[in-house]
């Protein structure tokens, strides 16, 4: 798959503290369920890519392009991973998101449509559309 041409939906898993309060066995069970869920979606061709993200992170921002440690103020707002879904409708993407094994423990799932044409490409004329929308 050329990820550049993918037009589906991105699931962003919000919250990296869902395991707090769970026993090691419970944590392991949820993790395994999560990986199995991805594997199943991948075999069905519905999830075309996905990764957990490591706890560590950096953030670059500001005029001086300052690098700060840890992109997140709170673990519960941190992105813990993502899936790229190759499904046709928002409803289908939402239905998949609702199966997330982390939900009962406080994780949230952000479902975002991927733009078919990257707006960063001037030849796509999206810049004109943006100016027009002003």
């Amino acid at each position: 798959m050329n990820i550049k041409d993918q037009t589906g939906y991105m699931l962003l898993f919000v919250g990296m503290d869902w395991h707090k309060g769970l026993s090691p066995e419970q944590t392991q069970k949820v993790s395994e369920d999560w990986m199995a869920w991805f594997k199943r979606l991948n075999e069905q061709g519905k999830a075309v890519a996905g990764h957990p993200l490591g706890f560590e992170g950096k953030s670059v921002s500001g005029k001086n392009r300052t690098v700060t440690d840890g992109p997140f103020a709170e673990a519960k707002e941190a992105i813990g991973g993502y899936f790229m879904l190759d499904v046709a409708t928002m409803d289908e993407a939402v239905a998949i998101a609702q199966q997330c094994p982390g939900l009962p423990f406080g994780a949230k799932v952000e479902v975002r449509p991927v733009l078919a044409e990257c707006p960063l490409k001037p030849e796509n004329k999206i810049d004109e559309a943006l100016v027009g929308a002003k």
């Binding site: 990820i3 957990p52 670059v60 993502y82 609702q98 952000e110 733009l115 990257c118």
Partner: protein, 139 residues
Amino acid sequence: MNALEMSNNGYLLLFHSGEWWKDLGREELQKYLAQSNAWLEKLMTTGQAKGGQALARTGTIISGKNGRTVTDGPFAESKEVIGGYLLLDVGTFEEAVAIAKTAPMIALGTSVEVRPLTNECPSQARLAKLIREEQLATA
């Protein structure tokens, strides 16, 4: 490119931004878009970037025990949301941060989050580490 086939060494750049284009005129916007495009094309050509996409400023947030709570976007104008991502296939965190620092979008207020991709759940990895430490302490 299939992100699944990527080595464990990959990094994900997440672009957090508001509606940066709102205050730009046509010329400035076009200049900036060309700059950003050149930046992306260069990274794709060198193979440092494996793919990236923009996300619409609409979306849905699912939460609650059985995923019953569904909150719809679009997101407020001023709200910082993840407006796009870029997958980097580079060997070190330093290299990923160095690339992030050159992103033209930063000049317009975007902040770039750099995160390592892993192939195992970070919670599970941390748990395994804690168990190892415990075992060492009691050994």
